[in-house]
């Protein structure tokens, strides 16, 4: 049979449709290579003069089939993949996956490890919010904000690097705790950061919060009513910006969030400015959480769950004791096989509720691995917000839902 290769139909870049005798509608294509779409997002806008009448985001340019990959990797091998989804807050992704697997296995990391996991997750939240603020302000025109935000983010990345060797793709969390010891001067490094950051954050707020042009560009733009936010399934700052009180750390506390005192900021108008305020306040609350964790974390104690065939035995005993060597050998070759069943666990990621749903058929490889990333869901509200907005607002709207295409497309 002849394999005729059909000429690919040219992608319609723009055409003008005659809507009514007097109005002409312009279809405009923004992206996928575009400075302010935070990655490879393409937005097809239909315009009427200056106002947007239709907007549909086109995604999939960064789809790597992470979930399908999950069905061919053993549980412990999949952790590096979780960094690559939301590459801006990798520790949070690791945490989400690892906690879900531990829930499936019915085991729990030692107390010291859980505290350190909380510290790293909150630092990841700060890093992610700094990237959001920098790019959001840059899109709306404040050039220097991105420079200042990335200067602070450097300090966090240095902490990650000291802790796990990598800045971005941290791959720091393992099932059952941490296998590497905590560097002794890490707590002081974090305390220095906690001392410097509030002053820097006040600098950001001096630049933006009361800046008339910033207020003009963000107030009343992209308003989402609370009920609409819930119906769209929005989570994180997008939901709390409209005043709905739902934070996974408070609703379903995991790790030791119930032992830590912090507050959840809620907006009152649900526009871009409110989401900006909510995220800035979240940064301050994260500082408070990290401070309390640093005070409460036991300075010694096991970092890794000991005898359990779900956990790789510690290095020092592998070579000396036969039993550990054998366990290490089986663990590496075959991996461990969890009980049959399914599990869903959600954590409060910087962008919203990050959920992992794993179906295990008892084999070392999960039967189904579903990752519910927050910004994929939050992105669905873009058309709702964009309708009726001005053309120049699209940039602000993309910034306010804080999407990273790695986790949108997976």
């Amino acid at each position: 049979m002849s394999l005729e290769i059909t000429e690919p139909t040219p992608v319609i870049i723009s055409e003008e449709r005659q809507v009514s005798d007097t109005r002409r509608e312009l279809v405009l294509n923004m992206g996928p290579q575009h400075p302010s779409t935070h990655g490879v997002l393409r937005v097809r806008l239909t315009l009427e003069g200056e106002t947007i009448t239709g907007c549909d985001p086109v995604i999939g340019y960064l789809h790597r089939g992470v979930e399908k990959l999950g069905e061919s990797k053993r549980y412990a091998q999949f952790v590096p993949w979780t960094d690559r989804t939301d590459y801006v807050a990798a520790p949070s992704n690791n945490l989400g996956y690892v906690l879900t697997v531990e829930k499936l296995l019915g085991i729990e990391a030692p107390e010291r490890a859980q505290y350190w996991r909380m510290i790293m997750a909150e630092l990841a939240r700060l890093a992610s919010h700094l990237v959001w603020l920098g790019t959001h302000a840059l899109d709306i025109g404040a050039l220097s904000m991105s420079l200042y935000c990335f200067r602070e983010r450097e300090m966090i990345l240095d902490i990650f690097e000291k802790f796990c060797g990598a800045r971005l793709t941290t791959n720091m969390m393992e099932i059952g705790g941490f296998s590497r010891p905590i560097p002794p001067d890490l707590p002081d490094m974090i305390r220095d950061f906690l001392a410097v950051f509030p002053k820097r954050q006040r600098e950001y707020e001096d630049m933006l919060s009361a800046n008339p042009i910033w207020l003009a560009r963000t107030r009343g733009v992209g308003v989402i009513e609370p009920d609409v936010a819930i119906n769209y399934g929005l989570t994180g700052a997008c939901l709390r910006g409209s005043g709905v009180n739902y934070d996974v750390r408070k609703a379903q506390p995991y790790l030791f969030y119930d032992r830590v005192d912090f507050e959840v900021p809620l907006g009152t108008h649900g526009d871009v400015y409110d989401r900006y305020l909510v995220r800035m306040e979240e940064m301050r609350q994260s500082l408070k959480i990290i401070q309390q964790c640093l005070d409460q974390v036991p300075t010694d104690g096991p970092l890794k769950l000991a005898e359990s065939n779900y956990v790789i035995p510690p290095h020092d005993t592998v070579l000396t004791t036969a039993e550990d060597m054998q366990r290490h050998f089986i663990w590496v070759i075959k991996g461990f096989s969890p009980p049959k069943g399914e599990v869903y666990l959600a954590i409060e990621h910087s962008k919203g509720e990050l959920g992992h749903y794993i179906v295990s058929d008892g084999s070392p490889i999960p039967y189904r691995l579903r990752i519910r990333t927050p910004d994929f869901v939050n992105l669905q509200s873009l058309p709702y917000m964009a309708e009726g907005a001005m053309l120049a607002d699209v940039v602000a709207l993309i910034g306010t839902i804080d999407i990273v295409l790695g986790s949108v497309d997976r």
Partner: protein, 341 residues
């Protein structure tokens, strides 16, 4: 024909033009350095000592870049448009007085290229003509979106040109003339204000006019919070999207020359150009112009961008009425001053 006077004036004009072009080149360097300093980084320092050769390096780079002309572009207009805005920009330095008259080799040389009666209107006319570079650039690149971007920025420049003109009427009322040389002289006699020697600069007697002029000047040169056309290139396609190579640098450099020209104008009109507390001279003018240039860059780093409708709304609903009120007030004060009221 008094050849000596003509020759000296010609030489002076030649010097002014070259200084303007040189300043323009080093304005890019100055901007990148100041921008970097404000953003906690270093800025160019590889090319030559302290990166001083950076403008030359940029120039060579742009010369080497391929000069693409879009297929169905309107060739002639496409080629002329950047030249138009580049050539018109330095002309407005011709009316700016760099000093009084000085004798060099026994020849009377007055330190301004031309003292025409309608100097400020001449500068406004050049501003008005500069719009053509933008419109024709957008039209000629044959793509629908750079055309829309060009029309937007043209509308912005026209609206702010009106505000610019009206904001200067206050100064004309006080100085009674349009020629910059006479305006400079009018600012030089210090006012004795309750015993205190206060320089009679128009910034003191025309604060509102000064602020309006500043805002309109920033908008007129498509800079800082009003740089929508540049941002527009992300959304709609600014007028210089299709340009590349040295042709693009004409647009790019025209912006800088406009900035320098407007700064010189602002320094002369409102801060008493070459008039300084100790020794009057062109260095005072340079210092004041540098102050304004720094202000341009400062705006660029800190302020976010206006949206198009806010930008136009600001011009027509806020600045224009303020300018008219300023004119009325200055007129009344002037009449009261002359005792006619």
């Amino acid at each position: 024909m008094n050849w000596a006077a003509f020759l000296s004036n010609y030489i002076f004009a030649f010097i002014v033009l070259n200084v303007m072009l040189g300043l323009m080149a080093y304005m890019t360097y100055f901007e990148r350095k100041v921008l970097a300093a404000m953003q906690d980084r270093v800025g160019p320092k590889r090319t030559g000592p302290f990166g001083l050769l950076q403008p030359i390096a940029d120039g060579i780079k742009l010369l080497a870049k391929e000069d693409i002309v879009p297929k169905n572009a309107d060739r002639l207009v496409f080629l002329v448009a950047p030249l138009l805005s580049f050539v018109l920009a330095p002309l407005s330095a011709a009316v700016i007085p760099f000093g009084g008259t000085v004798t060099v080799f026994g020849q009377e040389v007055n330190l301004y290229v031309a003292d025409i009666n309608v100097a400020v209107l001449y500068v406004l006319a050049l501003g008005g003509m500069g719009v053509y570079g933008i419109i024709l650039g957008g039209y000629a690149s044959a793509n629908r979106y750079s055309l829309l971007g060009a029309l937007r920025s043209a509308a912005q420049v026209i609206s702010y040109e009106i505000v610019l003109g009206l904001s200067l009427v206050g100064v004309f009322i006080l100085s009674g003339t349009l020629s910059l040389v006479q305006i400079l002289e009018a600012q030089q006699q210090p006012l004795s204000f309750g015993g205190v020697q206060v320089p009679n600069w128009y910034i003191l007697s025309q604060p509102l006019g000064f602020v309006l002029f500043l805002i309109a000047a920033v908008a007129e040169t498509n800079r800082a919070p009003f740089d929508l056309p540049e941002a527009e290139s992300e959304l709609i396609g600014g007028f210089h999207t299709e340009y590349s190579g040295f042709r693009f640098s004409f647009f790019f450099l025209a912006e800088y020359i406009n900035m320098i020209a407007v700064s010189l104008l602002a320094a002369t009109l409102f801060l008493g150009g070459t008039d300084g507390p100790i020794a009057d001279g062109v260095w005072w003018l340079a210092a004041k112009a540098a102050l304004f240039l720094f202000f341009y860059i400062w705006l660029r780093t800190t302020l976010p961008r206006f949206r198009y409708d806010q930008l136009m709304g600001l011009a027509w609903k806020v600045l224009l009425p303020l300018a008219l009120i300023n004119i009325a007030l200055t007129g009344l004060i002037r009449l009261w001053g002359l005792g006619l009221l």
